[in-house]
């Protein structure tokens, strides 16, 4: 059943990365519990625009949990307290009448603030440029069924490939480590045979790039996995570590 509730928002505002941030309070009256969290912000923004005030900048696109654009820290937790969803899949029915809700951007050195709740995540793409692929030219492929992959391996590869690149894992980590993000791609590509040819250089290059972009080290606090909207397991980090060690000792590298 849909009901209407009132909530108070405490929102991080910031013009750009060089200006100081401040917290702005907004009262939301009578929002439908069926509305999504972002639709609640849409309604607020429309009101702000018509009142000649600055709307709150936040990112979103697909609004069904797959593009990875939305990125809010809600009451201290990336994507909010519900497990296995992105911010755009969060609904107002998970809040109570009278709740005070804080909304902040991803916070990490490698993610400078662009405006308000929007941060620059280009560092994630740069890690991918350094090796997050199998080097196959268009046209080189043989018949799809000439590479057999067990159902279990395909499932395992998929679990890593399911990453949507939102960056919540980094926002949740006290070290701002991108270890889960990088490991998910490594795990995806070592669990299919066609990915094994380049695995040693891939893991090395991606880790070097990760460090270069200013992400921190992994100290196994496992916060990353607990906020991951695709619930990617930290077991992928073990896979990466094994690959990394064997890469370091590999004679060909």
């Amino acid at each position: 059943m849909s009901i209407n509730i009132n909530v108070t928002l405490k929102i991080h505002r910031q013009d750009n990365k060089t200006t100081p941030s401040f917290i702005e309070t907004h009262n939301i009256d009578s929002i439908s519990s069926d509305a999504s969290f972002l639709e609640m912000l849409d309604i607020l923004n429309e009101k702000l625009i018509e009142e000649d005030k600055n709307p709150i900048a936040f990112e979103s696109d697909c609004r069904e949990g797959i593009c990875g654009a939305c990125s809010l820290v809600i009451n201290g937790i990336p994507h909010g307290k519900e497990k296995g969803i992105t911010t755009c899949q969060l609904h107002m029915r998970t809040f109570n009448n009278g709740d005070i809700i804080t909304i902040e951007p991803w916070k990490a050195t490698a993610f400078p603030v662009i405006k308000d709740l929007v941060v620059n995540r280009n560092a994630l793409d740069k890690i991918m440029h350094s090796g997050g692929y199998i080097s196959v030219k268009t046209g080189s492929a043989q018949d799809g069924n000439s590479i057999l992959i067990s159902k279990q391996s395909a499932e395992k590869a998929f679990n890593g490939a399911a990453c949507i690149g939102c960056g919540a894992c980094i926002a949740a980590c006290k070290n701002s480590s991108a270890m889960l993000f990088v490991s998910a791609k490594i795990s995806h590509l070592i669990n299919v045979p066609q990915g094994l040819i380049e695995n040693k250089s891939r893991v090395m290059n991606m880790i070097i790039q990760m460090d270069h972009e200013g992400f921190g080290s992994c100290t196994n606090t496992l916060e990353c996995s607990s906020v991951c909207p695709k619930e990617i397991s930290t077991s992928v980090i073990n896979e990466l570590n094994q690959e990394f060690i064997s890469s370091v000792f590999s004679t060909s590298n």
């Binding site: 000649d52 990112e59 654009a69 793409d125 440029h129 268009t138 018949d143 799809g144 490939a161």
Partner: protein
Amino acid sequence: MINKLNAKIPSGDLPNKWDNYINSIKPINPANKKKYHIIVVGTGLAGASAAASLADLGFKISSFCFQDSPRRAHSIAAQGGINAAKNYQNDGDSFFRLFYDTIKGGDFRSREANVYRLAQISAKIIDQCVAQGVPFARDYSGYLDNRSFGGSLVSRTFYARGQTGQQLLLGAYSALNKQIGLNNITNYNQTEMLDIIIVNGHAKGIVVRDLLTGEIRTYAADAVVLATGGYSPVFYLSTNAINCNVSATFQAYKKNAFFANPCYTQIHPTCIPVTGNHQSKLTLMSESLRNDGRIWVPKKQNDKRNAIDINENERDYYLERKYPSFGNLSPRDISSRSAKEMCDAGRGIGESGQGVFLDFANAIKNLGADTVKEKYGNLFHMYQKITNENPYEKPMRIFPAPHYTMGGLWVDYELMSNIPGLFVIGEANFSDHGSNRLGASALMQGLADGYFVLPYTIEPYLNTIEANSSSIEMPEFKEGKDKVIDRINKIMSINGKKSSSSFHRELGKIMWNKCGMARNEKGLDEAIKDISNLRNEFWNNVKVSGKINDYNQDLERTCRIADFLEFAELMCYDAKERKESCGGHFREEYQTSDGEAQRNDEKFCHVSAWQYNQKDKPILHKENLEFEYVALSQRSYK
């Protein structure tokens, strides 16, 4: 008028046309390829695959997307699968069968030669994606698995859980990343194309806005490729990402590229119904659910009982009743229209009466809840998150919603528009889907265009021009830039009272009610008038916040809505002009006695390509469709 629309179909028998074409190309010397600079706008399946494949060949590429990463293009959200005529299931699939299903599914309004090529290429796409590491579903022996999709009686759809689009896009994105890493592609994120530059009749560059700084810049090239997707958000509520828009193709149209069949829009039958005014988008439930889910409504009008309290004999499984051979797997246009028919007859379900049931009770009973969960778990999860209802316990409520647009810029066999040097691929072109696209064919077409068609068909054009044929110092670039700046200044200076979103919502209502699932002449005339009034109000009363030279999401959105407000009118002209029903275009005046779409092949067996006319109504050009290999027939799924 003659020769304005030369589709350049190669000679020879249908199965040989593509080979004949390839054999006729004079390849560009590999050493010279790097001298040619190509701009690719959009990084979805079509754009990313094209950019990567052209870079593989040695061309110099610049790619552009308005998102903060190429990986967020809307192809990422495609759920169900990708068709390919592999015949791995030994069920009689072939190039011809996929070709025929696609032509028939499109209600005989697409080009034979293009569709046959698509079917031929389809198998190679799967190979390419497997080689990239795309984790397609496998059976226990390790072989690739398939499932069935609407409009086909063979099992030819390859899938990766309910996230096939995501996995295919990440494959294309990885190919793009490799070339970015090698410096063969320069990629511009958060950079939105706002206009195209034409020099002596040829496409030579684009004008963009840097979304982070607001700066307007120009880029020069030897050819421009648009892979900018479809325009479903003209309806405001659609299954598309909220930032999808028509601006790139519409601006090209205003520079004299012809817009083909804009009224062909696909309303997808299985989406979660609208719940309230707050709603910003509609969520699709993959068509794959129709493999096991059964669609029904109560036989009685206004029956508001719980589904479980309605006995079997009081239910109408209307698709199974009306179309016994295809049943719940009937094509999208037919399934959507049937749902509307049921709701119009007062038999819709839910509070609004705008919904039908998609029921898994039988599947759960026969296959077990675990198997159903394995097949559709993520979709059930998504449904429950949005509706707060458990689809394992009570049937899903679904209703049709705008999902895909078959219309787009007119292109010839080489995927070049009528503007030399302007290529259009993926959903952005008027495509191979005729007036209705079959499920799992959008991913196929996007990747076919990008990986295996454009890399061949762009060379003959490049052979006709010198490399380095343009520069941003040319006066056309300065003019183009000034024009864009003027327009943005104008929008910012209106300083009215209403947000651009409120105009978008109003436009959506007009389009959904009068140019949606069913259309008629009177309604279309009203819509044209309503849109024109709304547009006038927009240009006098829209309110845009923030600054021009800054990160400004309100301004981005408003520019896109301004284009939708013009484009919507073109859709209505096209819908009005096409006095027949075909596929997704249903004109109430033209239907058979049992309510099916009635085509008029004598008068409308053509592509309608519209030319922009600044002073008056757009000008219609026709490309006649000739069918040599299939016989035109009344489409039947009974």
